[in-house]
Amino acid sequence: MGIFSKFVAKLKGQSTADPLDWKVLEEELLAADIGPTLTAEIIKSAQSLKGDDALASLTNILKSHLSTKSRELSVASDVRAILVVGVNGTGKTTSVAKLANLIHSFNSSVMLAAADTFRAAAVNQLQTWGERIGVPVISGKDGAEPASVAFDAAIAAKEAAVKFLIIDTAGRLHNKNDLMAELGKIRRVIEKTLPISEVLLVIDATTGQNGIAQAKIFAEAVDVTGLIVTKLDGSARGGIALAIESALDIPIKFIGTGEGERDFAPFDPERYLNGLVND
């Protein structure tokens, strides 16, 4: 990704004792949507860098802002229910399909629940994906109560003894109280049958500082355990995800990088940091 390429180019071979051009770093951090708050923090720590290797020090500073929580999917229960949530248009349905495909490719059984009964044709969209990747999809009638679809899916998943159940939900803006309450309800009805093992929040890489508000409010409503950052194949750097990790300690678990079912991978922080600083 090399978001600090300009700064790093200046930094290479420099000792931290040399005067550095912080303005360039500031610009690069801001342009990546890291946000003014975290940018100021990073610059502040960077200015007190000690040691001969400025590049390594910068990498360490960035690392210190990453979450130390596990980035693996929780496998604590027999049937692992994964609830996928987010605001409209971030790519939830596509991410659900890609995640299912990834799990499926490890020969683990997986089932999908089409609980986005609101957006026109969202159910068909997930069904098409299900056929494409060969994974069963549980759906209700058009306009069915999303919680009822989730409930039926939880029972079906338990009966079929699949390893994973992934529940797609309708996009909702975090400032709509009734819709956030609906999400809580979906969670509760699933928990009548299965424990929820993960709640993944889908964040669009193009999102600006509003992403923090999204993550905060979704986390309050349904206890988000990880992030999926989508659309990283575009020109957006997705720095907002880093800002969310840093501010709320919610780890990025997966990244989406295209429209195909394979354009999806577990998030690798080492690679990410190397990508940031080594270009």
């Binding site: 248009g89 790519g91 068909n124 994906w129 509003n210 750097r237």
Partner: protein, 485 residues
């Protein structure tokens, strides 16, 4: 997240206000605050820098003309606000209708920006104005985008031209081309072409958009962009401008709480008008773009116009009309009416969100954050534990009735007493208000609500913000927006 910008700006301006005569240092400091605030709103760095330079220059130029003692901070604020409105609305215009119909409108944008939903909204908007739009399903990429457009078209009563099933099957350029011929043969006077979402960096798909454009020669290409987008807005807008090109911008998801600083970046960098705003999941949640509202929103100076709209949506018009009538007749405001207001307010969302939309919210940030949302629930439960008679006439509330209510609401008798006392005081004030004069903010506060929120349906049914709020706003742009309602 209404905090950052409004707090910073309110802070910057109030420190300005406390000075007698502004110095150049004051202006420098304020510029630094405005810069931080704009960045927090996702305005692109390069735009922020040039904007700040402009503000600094204009402020310094205005400095000698400012009389000490007059409201100099207000003058600086007006410069900022006017510049924002200038950039956001400078190029404003309506959609150009073709001399020889059909008028062709093509939508383009990133994945998930909201193009398909917008296509439906746009179709409804023009259908309601007496046009005969045709929707065209040229997004053959995303699974079931075609079905989605068909559903949307059906719900707004606009035909959808969809000869291809999509899901990767069919040629979107051909579909668009055929649609044009079809529209001509069926005498549709407008064609709205929905296209697949594409990234600015995807050259192959950008070429496809160019091919669609060349096939249908649109009168307007609208770039659809999510109001929540961050710094990437400039790269993406540039890529679309250089690629398929566009004539206007539509901002979507403005019903969220993003400040939408990207609007400023895009307007500034492309010089193209923002033409529409889309603000909800219903197909009627769509309007032409108001630069003044957006300026207020970016500045975090409260968005009374939006608040009033939300209030209008949430309040059942019948009940507010009833209340209005009652009020005019000279009947007393009862606990029953109070309960209806509380319910209407809870429909509008959390109190702290609503308060955040008010001008000057930044200064009250702490109180807002500490606002106990369940206070409303508690107050409601007390009123709901009363009989209809008690709600109509709180005077009948003797000791045993109060004890019963407390038991029913799960509160203490003191809580019931406190509510009744506050209500009586409020009722008295309401009578005074009818005899002339506005509602003192103290009343709303005495009802267990922070100042400014007590107005309820009274002010709203006239299609404007409750007038008490208006009188509190010292910001002329805001007042103008309110007056338009």
């Amino acid at each position: 997240m209404f905090d950052a910008l409004s707090t910073k700006l309110t802070g910057a301006f109030s420190s300005l206000r406390s000075r007698g005569k502004l110095s150049t240092t004051d202006i420098e400091n304020t510029c630094a605050e405005i810069k931080a605030a704009l960045l927090e709103s996702d305005v692109a760095l390069s735009v922020v820098d040039s904007f700040i330079d402009l503000i600094r220059e204009k402020s310094l130029a205005a400095l000698p003309t400012l009389q000490s003692g007059s409201n100099q901070a207000q003058a600086i604020f007006e410069i900022v606000n006017a510049e924002l409105i200038e950039i956001l609305g400078g190029a404003a215009r309506r959609v150009r209708l073709a001399k020889n119909p059909p008028t062709v409108i093509m939508l383009a944008g990133l994945q998930g920006a909201g193009k398909t939903t917008l296509a439906g909204k746009l179709a409804k908007f023009y259908l309601d104005q007496g046009n005969t739009p045709l929707l065209v399903a040229s997004d053959l990429q995303r699974p079931n985008a075609v079905t989605q457009l068909q559903v949307v078209g059906e719900s707004v009563g606009v035909p959808v031209f969809a000869p291809e099933p999509g899901n990767g099957v069919g040629n979107p350029v051909k579909v668009a081309e055929q649609a044009l011929a079809f529209a001509k043969s069926k005498l549709h006077n407008m064609v709205i072409v929905d296209t697949a979402g594409r990234l600015g960096v995807d050259q192959e798909l950008m070429q496809q958009a160019i091919d669609i454009r060349d096939a249908v020669k649109p009168d307007e290409i609208l770039f659809v962009v999510d109001a929540m987008i961050g710094q990437d807005a400039v790269r993406t807008a540039k890529a679309f401008q250089d690629g398929v090109g566009f004539d206007g911008v539509v901002l979507t998801k403005l019903d969220g709480d993003a400040r939408g600083g990207a609007a400023l970046s895009i307007a500034k960098l492309t010089g193209l008008p923002i033409m529409f705003s889309s603000n909800g999941e219903k197909l009627t949640d769509f309007d032409i773009f108001y630069p003044e509202r957006m300026a207020s929103r970016i500045l975090g100076m409260g968005d009374v116009a939006t608040l009033a709209e939300q209030a209008k949506k949430a309040l059942d018009t019948d009940s507010s009309a009833k209340l209005e009538e009652k009020f005019a007749r000279g009947d007393d405001f009862t606990l029953e009416d109070f309960l209806e207001q509380l319910e209407a307010m809870s429909k509008m969302g959390s109190m702290s969100k609503l308060l955040g939309m008010l001008p000057g919210a930044g200064a009250m940030k702490k109180q807002i954050d500490n606002f106990d949302e369940s206070e409303i629930v508690r107050t409601k439960s007390i009123v709901q534990s009363m009989t209809p008679l008690e709600r109509q006439d709180p005077k009948v509330l003797n000791g045993s009735r109060r004890a019963r209510i407390a038991l029913g609401a799960g509160r203490k008798v003191q809580d019931v007493n406190a509510l009744v006392d506050k209500f009586s005081a409020a009722q008295k004030m309401m009578r005074q208000m009818r005899n002339g004069g506005g509602m003192p903010p103290a009343m709303a506060q005495s009802m267990g609500m922070p100042a400014g929120m007590g107005a309820g349906p009274m002010g709203v049914k006239k299609g404007q913000a409750p007038s008490k709020k208006k009188s509190k706003s010292g910001n002329p742009a805001k007042r103008a927006a309110e007056e338009r309602g």
